[in-house]
């Protein structure tokens, strides 16, 4: 049985202008100890899908569908029951390490609280455990650092504190929302190395939300590409990078500046992301897609297995062999 089974997850926000559908029909399964990358541009709904599962949506947001964790639906769970799982079995690392730590509390207070709440530990035992975890994420002089406030630490160190805090209860699933986006590349390399080691040591399943395909390539086994609240392609990382089958994935890979390739000009995807308050009918990517035809404007293609392969899902009306985006070069914009 899979650890987490998400089915037709949708998130809708009520705004004064209109109801905004940020996530639309997202389904996936997560096995124990596996890594899933969720890739997409800002506004693609990748963060909101995860926040919905953890009951962390903004007040005007409402989630529908199901997200089964060990047979229980996280979306309809009463807050009390959810609180027993959150931060304990399922934990999360946020993008901005400064605003997600409490500036008024020392690192010690913020970390021991988790253990006192979930594990009924004494403050003293919790502190010992917290120091051990800070050492595991390689914070130098952990015993001294733990008494400091967040502002006394550098950005990379704060992110390591966040990771240590998320791992305190040895969660089964770690949701990491752009954990390295605010960091410099050298620090990013440290954090990614750390996540790899931790997964190896603790067997934690990781859901990594990112816009950086390079980070996905280094860490994830499976990848889900999202656009306009929908899943466009969902397959193994090896397949995605070697043989992308969706026009959007292809566009994304071509737009990416790479260090390991010479001379190839960048090709942006023309146009702008859709306004989610007034999404186009049919496929959200149609306006920017070189492969779009009349069918695309009418209805959203289903997320179907590619060539009968159930591990490779794609949502596109056009068969892969007829795709223009594979051969033709989109115009320079």
């Amino acid at each position: 049985m899979s650890l987490l089974k998400v089915d037709h997850l949708a998130v809708e926000f009520q705004t004064p202008d209109a109801a905004v559908r940020a996530v639309n029909g997202v389904s996936f399964e997560l096995e124990e100890g596996s890594t899933l990358g969720i890739v997409g541009e800002s506004g693609s709904g990748k963060s909101q899908s995860v926040l919905a599962m953890l009951g962390l949506l903004a007040r005007n947001g409402r989630a529908s569908g199901t997200a089964l964790y060990q047979g229980e639906n996280l979306l309809t769970m009463p807050p009390k029951a959810l609180n027993r799982i959150r931060g304990n079995r399922l934990s999360m690392i946020f993008q901005d390490p400064m605003t997600s730590l409490n500036p008024y509390l020392t690192i010690e207070r913020q970390m021991t609280e988790v253990l006192e709440l979930h594990k009924n530990m004494t403050r003293r035992a919790a502190k010992k455990r917290a120091i051990g975890m800070l050492e595991a994420v390689r914070i130098p002089e952990a015993a001294h650092r733990i008494d400091q406030y967040p502002h006394e630490l550098s950005g990379g160190m704060r992110q390591r504190v966040m990771i240590a805090m998320a791992l305190l209860c040895e969660p089964q699933v770690l949701f990491a929302d752009e954990p390295t986006t605010a960091l410099d590349v050298t620090v990013q390399a440290q954090i990614l190395q750390l996540l790899r080691n931790l997964q190896h040591d603790f067997g934690t399943a990781i859901v990594l939300i990112t816009h950086d395909l390079g980070v996905v390539a280094g860490l994830c086994e499976k990848v889900m590409v999202m656009y306009g609240g929908r899943v466009m392609e969902h397959c193994s990382a090896a397949d995605l990078f070697a043989r992308p089958s969706h026009p959007y994935t292809i566009g994304l890979l071509r737009a990416l500046p790479r260090l390991d390739e010479e001379g190839a000009a960048l090709r942006g995807i023309p146009g702008n992301p859709p306004n989610m308050a007034h999404p186009p009918a049919g496929c959200p990517f149609q306006e920017r897609c070189v492969d779009a035809n009349a069918q695309c404007a009418e209805r959203m293609p289903a997320l179907d297995p590619l060539n009968g392969d159930a591990t490779w899902l794609r949502a596109c009306h056009r068969p892969v062999e007829q795709m223009k985006s594979l051969h033709e070069e989109p115009s320079h914009v």
Partner: protein, 327 residues
Amino acid sequence: MSEQTILSVRDVQVHFKVKAKSRLPWAPPRTLKAVDGVSFDLRAGETLGVVGESGCGKSTLSRAILNLIPATQGEIVWMGETLSTASPRAWHDVRRDIQMIFQDPLASLDPRMTVGQIIAEPLREHRRGMSKEETTQRVRAMMAKVGLREQMINRYAHEFSGGQCQRIGIARALVVEPKLVVCDEPVSALDVSIQAQIVNLLKSLQAEMGLALIFIAHDLAVVKHISDRVMVMYLGHVMELAGKDALYAGPRHPYTRALLSAVPVPDPAVERAKVVQILSGDIPSPIDPPSGCVFHTRCPIAQPRCATEVPSLRAVSDHAAAACHFA
């Protein structure tokens, strides 16, 4: 690209006085060395990429060139004229010739002005005699060049997406036909598909108008795509200054090597096989920088000599200069 040097930066320092961490109010202030002795030349039509981690002084350097933050020492020579002694009148012309594009596309546009007003503002200042009709015509032409539709001229900045706002910022910078544009992280706030649009736009406008660019970024892959030469900074010092091909094919400075190895490559086979040179620890404080070579505290090949002797930026090949005793 011509051989004419348009901008010459000579040993520029930008130091800030910061309050001492002492409780005693009479404790002498301490010095934060944001930029500490940077020199380079820029030729007409050339793109110089400036890379480094946060706090390396790349943004401060760009502001020092425009005197938005005055350099505490050193000389900046623009088209043969030393800027520190230039008259306010001469500065006025310099500010027309050197324009800037900022990181946050929305925050750098006035929310109470329409797109037309934003793009026309530099013209009103630098082409005082220009008639209203001609100004509007110029603005429209510029909008077409950066890929904005003419009907958008009366809209406000908040009505646009990040990529479109950056196009407005580019139009505003280029409407007075500058010779140099300083771009401070112009694409780092944008999504990948939009980022590629803006990089391509900058490249084509550069070719069309013969602009020189100083392109500041922390993304080494983006810098590779747009630059002719690349300058790598660390703690206010230049670590390496080299032609693009030389730098990316064979980095000479250990810091450049560590930076390049840390960039994730979007190919699982390559990414998982490669050896990342992980730098230990954090970047030291620029208030109390390490003695000798500023990088020696994190350098994998540091020797005792590095802690005492400051390496100068010296030519290590035809196209590369590095500040390392062992380059």
